[in-house]
């Protein structure tokens, strides 16, 4: 657990998110399916989903 601006965040979740986001970027560089704004939305969805999962636990 680490603290960012007074908020505690789960390190394992951060690690998972990093991998998933970079893979998503990698895939999109190759396929060009999503625009920049769609990518931003997708990353936000991934973060929110992961954060919710952690807090639901």
């Amino acid at each position: 657990m680490i603290t960012i601006n007074g908020i505690e965040v789960d390190e394992k979740s951060i690690e998972r998110l990093k991998q998933r986001i970079v893979l998503l970027e990698s895939r999109n560089i190759n396929t060009k399916q999503l625009s920049d704004q769609q990518m931003v939305k997708k990353i936000k969805d991934m973060i929110e989903e992961e954060a919710k999962c952690y807090f639901n636990q």
């Binding site: 680490i2 960012i4 601006n5 007074g6 908020i7 965040v9 979740s13 951060i14 998110l17 990093k18 991998q19 986001i21 970079v22 893979l23 970027e25 990698s26 999109n28 560089i29 190759n30 396929t31 060009k32 399916q33 920049d36 704004q37 990518m39 931003v40 990353i43 936000k44 973060i47 929110e48 992961e50 954060a51 807090f55």
Partner: protein
Amino acid sequence: MLLQSIKLENFRQFKNEQIDFSTDWERNVTIIIGENGTGKTTFAQAFFWCLYGETDFTDKSLLNKLVGTDLLPNQEAVVKVILRLNHGRTDYTITREQVYKKSYKNTLTSNNTVLNVAYRQEDGQLVYLKPLLCEAEVKKILPRELSKYFFFDGERIEKMSKEVQSGRKSSEFAEAVKGLLGLNSIISAINHLNPRSKYGVIGSYEESYDSKSDTNIQRYTKEIADFQVQIDDIQSRLDEIDDEIAKATTRKEDLSEKIKQYAEGERLQTEKEKLIGKLNAAKRSKATATSTLLKDFNSNMPAFFAKSTIKGALEVLSKEDFLGKDIPEMHSKTIEYLLSRGTCICGTHLDEGSVPYNKVKELIEYLPPQSIGVSVGQFVKDSRIRVKDDVDVLTNLQQMCALLSEQDDNILELIDDIKAIESKLGGGDIHSKVKALFQEQQLCDKAIRDLTNEMKNKNEQLGALKTKRERRITERAELSLRDDANKKIEIYKAYAQSIYDDLITIYQKSETVIRIKLQETINEIFKSIYAGSMSLSIDEKYNISVYVDDYDGDVETSTAQSISVIFAFITGIIKLARDNQVSEDNDKSMLTSEPYPLVMDAPLSTFDKRRIKTVCEALPRIAEQVIIFIKDTDGDLAEENLGVKVGCRHRFDKLNEFETKLM
């Protein structure tokens, strides 16, 4: 990126020609053979033009000359290059075209070039990019800064080698290399998370706080945004200052080098100025001598030329005795009066024709106004002086002529010396050039001082702003936690910020690892081509330094070494990019890169036989795709060394000076 085909329409000598490239995994070499002047370089340049709208041609008009000549007034023709390639898992069609129109004055005018990029997605859907996005897309496929290394001209390979060793490459070059080596996914993720953009993940969270629960949240958010704008401005200015200081420092170093080069020139310039001074003095002296000579000549020469006449006259006069023939105080008019009166003073009748008459009449010849005795006496006296002076005039004249001749020789010698110095100097006034260089160097110093001061001030401002922003962020976070909706945003933002910070660290670490790996790869290739005790090192800006093992410091490279350096650099990048692409190593899981082709115009012309063999063996092994434009005389060499790897062969046939076809 793998090239599939290129089609040229009305592009210089190619009216409508297409080349398909080998994309076969095993036989990955495409050879295009042609005699000199068939258009191999033109075809190679077509890649550049299609991607970046530029060529190295001196004649910027690209329209086929025959097509241009056949155009009628107000008619148009289009120059077009269509490049088909695969990048990632996407097939691209990149088209650049330029419309030429003939005026009624029979001149051709051209519009700006137009770039179009279309790609086919995995589901088969064809997508046309908006015009504004096309250049950025091309940059993603192959950054312009790196393009010349992938589309390179063998005849300019040495110049390129000097460039990679120059230490003057732009930061864009380093970024381009990093992207190519597999950091693009991390760079994209960092860009998408970017807290500086309100369209990025973190930036958009900043914009989504609900201020209804507490009005201070809205105020703090606005203040944080304002601080951020100011921080960004300062950061951007600091980046500019960095660049400006780097440029001014580089320029200063250039100037120092030039001043050093001019040192010998300055010495010669001083010598030249001394000689010019001597020449002017010699010319003045000659002018004075000439003037004196002419003056003497004008005043003394009539006597000189009259000498023989005078001598003759004196000789005649010496035979005559004029003494006592004239009568003192008597005038010829007296005689004329006596003759007309008919009576002499003595009373003798003077009858015309009589003896007394004739005797008296004879006296006229000896009486004034021309008293012959007096005149002859004066004449003899004057003549003797003139004849005596004449000796000095001649001697003076001879001495003056000798002096003039000596001065002429001196002037010619000085002119020869000045010309010799001028040929060494190469024209121009070195002193004024050096003075201008010193002045520019002082300006650089001043600019560096001013910029350094500005940087110091900006850094102080930046620190203060960051502290203020952090304080507001903490205050807002405390307030946000009191409201559920805002608390969620705060949590999501904290996650995003944590990921962003981690990715920045990973990027920096990976970049260092990749650079070291690239250095190892390049050295491996360099040593396989150039057998010797030399090694290469790469700095943060991806500049290459060549050094001899066990010797401290850079060394000047020979042509063969330079060729090997650039070849090792290009193939090293390609090899590493390819390794990253196929690697399943967990350490590299965040690295994604592309295979890249090598398009080479006359690559073998600069290599010797041994290196041709090494290069030909290495090329198809290292690069995913090799495209070689080669002259017919090198064709056998290429076949001998690349034969089994050649997947496609093409040959150019020159129909005339303005048209080449593909056989």
